[in-house]
Structure formats: structure tokens, C-alpha cells
Symmetry: C2
């Protein structure tokens, strides 16, 4: 880090530097958890001073939440696009394909959602809100698929949405431990059994 | 802690002290993750000196692994007993009922399995071995249920075992965030759809 002259590094525009900090924070929080990383560690890896980092994110909590928001926006945009044109099953399989291309973001999400179980964790509210929002979004699309007779009408959309998210979260942790696993294929095997066969 | 005279505390037999350290470590690792807790923190909470703690567990890695092993033995004993007499579905629902009675152990497992994704994490090997073992154990019982025509013969037992574990892990994280959720009921709703209805 110290091999790069500050004058060169400081030439980058603030937006680029901000993105770089978020990328490094995603990596380091995902590797070592929220408490395992300090702002000083992140600043050192980016190659800036700690005051330089605090200029962009006033504390570690703000930086964690910004990193989570960035990953969330990305997956939300992908979900919205997929949900417009696909069944909920095809959209979730497509999301798995999308996620395996960015294991760093997947790792951040897996580690922080588990850590946020702790009542005092800074990301707890984020994950509670996120679960509620994603579940409602998936449930809405399940209802549409039920109307289109793609999914059995007898299943409770909100309960089923929670289950689909659980399968995906659980399989993602398994995939992160052993990336030789076919994550989209496993998700498809689960969803396949739900789909009404006559309509295929 | 300092209010209790060392002479009183030291009277406890070594086995009891060891159990007390494991109980506190389970709680603190589950709350703050492996990197968020030091041996000094754990010793202070137990009310012993750090050398006193190192007498039982030579370092933090050994203590984490011992805490994980303890929780694992407990759930393995429960699984073995349930598998003897029940279908795989009933055994897993019973395990959920067992787990909700010990949220501290569940939290340790959820947080550490997510953190162990990191290649250098001390619990990585533990979780890789554990996944392989639990999956093989569940797969074995799925095969038996298939022979008894309780589960469809067309499903791959190893893939299905991985899926059942994923659902349980994913639902547990949701339950830890919001314990008003009916964890055994949600697990049952998932498993119910797999079971061959004619045989019930």
C-alpha cells in the first residue's frame, strides 16, 4: 500500500474512491465478520488514511450498512427485472446464477445475516426489514403464479415465500463451503417439485 | 465477578468449571462471532483468570472447537435416538422442537457456520466434516423411508438430504431473527409436501 504515492492515489474522483472502499469493506466484512475488522484495517487495504476513509463513511456501522445496501440494490434490481418476465421459480434460479458470479457479496450477506441475530448488532434492523420486504415481494409473485396455475393454490404464499428464501440461504452457505456444488441446479430441484406439472 | 472471593470460586471441581467455560463461550461466540471475543473476555465473564482458562483450553481456537463439539454431540445424540424410531420427516421436526429450547446453541451454530466460510477460519474443517456426516446420515434414513414408501423413490437421497439441511438452517436463521415464527411448524409444512400421502 505504502508503495503507491498519495499524490497518485488522491487523484481518483470521490465516487470511484467510495466504490473502492465499499468493495474492500464487502470483502473484509465477509471474510472476518463485523467485529473482526477495524476501520484502520479497511483504510490500510484501500491505501488511504483513516481520516480519508471517515471522510466517506463516518464510522464502521455506516460503512457496513452501505456495503449491505449496495449488495441489496444489486440483487433487488436483478429480482425486479426477472420477476417482470418470469415465474417465481425461474426468477429464483436466475438469481442463484447471478449470485454465484459474485461470491464476495454472497459471503458478506451470509456472514452478516447470521451475525445480525444478536440484538445489538448494527445490521439487525437492516436484515429484519430486508427479510420482510423480500418475503412480501416473493409472496406477491407466488400469488400471481397461483392465479396462472403454475403453483398449487392451497399453499400459503407468505409461508412458502419464507421457505423459498430459507432454501436459498441454506444452499448458499453450503455452496460457499463447497463451490463445486451446482447451486442453481439444487435450487431448481427444490422448486421443480412445487410447480404444477400439467402447465409446463 | 470480582465480588466473588477466588477461594470460593476455586472450590468447584474441574469438570464443572470446564462446563461453565463452554457454556459462556457458546454464548459469547454466538453473540459476537469468533473474532469479536477474546479469551480475556471469556475468562472475565466466567470470573477466572486468563491462565486459569488456558489451563482448560490452550487457546481460543481449541475453545471454539470444544464449544461446537459439545453442541454437535448433543444434537447427534438427539438425532440418533429420533432416527431409530421415526421417519426422517418426524425426526427433523423433533430436532427443530429440541433446538428452539436452546437458542444459545442454535445461535452459535448459525453464526459460526456462516463465519467458517472463510478459508482460514478455525472451524472450517469442523463444518465441512459435519455437513458431510449429517448429510450422509440423513441420506441413509431417506433411503430407508424410500424403501418403506414414505418418500418418493425418484428423489436422489444425497441431494434431498442437502436440501432438508438447507431448509432447516435457513429457517433457523429466520427464527433467530424473529422467534415468534413457528419453526417446527414451518419445517413440517415443507416436509409434508414430500411425504407420500397414501401411506399416511
Amino acid at each position: 500500500m505504502s508503495g503507491v504515492a498519495p499524490s497518485v492515489r488522491n487523484r481518483r474522483p470521490p465516487g470511484v474512491r467510495r466504490e473502492e472502499i465499499l468493495r474492500v469493506a464487502t470483502e473484509m466484512f465477509g471474510d472476518s465478520g463485523y467485529r473482526g475488522v477495524s476501520l484502520a484495517d479497511i483504510a490500510a487495504r484501500v491505501g488511504i488514511s483513516q481520516p480519508g476513509l471517515i471522510h466517506h463513511f463516518k464510522n464502521k456501522e455506516e460503512l457496513l450498512l452501505a456495503a449491505l445496501e449496495r449488495r441489496d440494490e444489486d440483487s433487488r434490481d436483478h429480482m425486479d427485472a426477472m420477476f417482470q418476465e418470469m415465474s417465481v421459480a425461474d426468477a429464483l434460479i436466475s438469481l442463484c446464477r447471478h449470485n454465484v458470479e459474485d461470491p464476495t457479496a454472497m459471503r458478506l450477506y451470509a456472514v452478516e445475516s447470521a451475525e445480525s441475530i444478536e440484538p445489538g448488532h448494527p445490521a439487525r434492523e437492516f436484515f429484519l426489514r430486508r427479510y420482510a420486504r423480500v418475503r412480501e415481494r416473493v409472496a406477491e409473485r407466488i400469488r400471481r403464479d397461483q392465479e396462472l396455475r403454475r403453483l398449487p393454490a392451497a399453499l400459503d404464499p407468505v409461508v412458502l415465500a419464507g421457505e423459498m428464501i430459507a432454501v436459498m440461504d441454506g444452499l448458499q452457505v453450503q455452496w460457499l463451503l463447497d463451490p463445486t456444488m451446482d447451486l442453481p441446479g439444487r435450487m431448481a430441484a427444490y422448486l421443480e417439485r412445487l410447480i404444477i406439472k400439467e402447465d409446463r
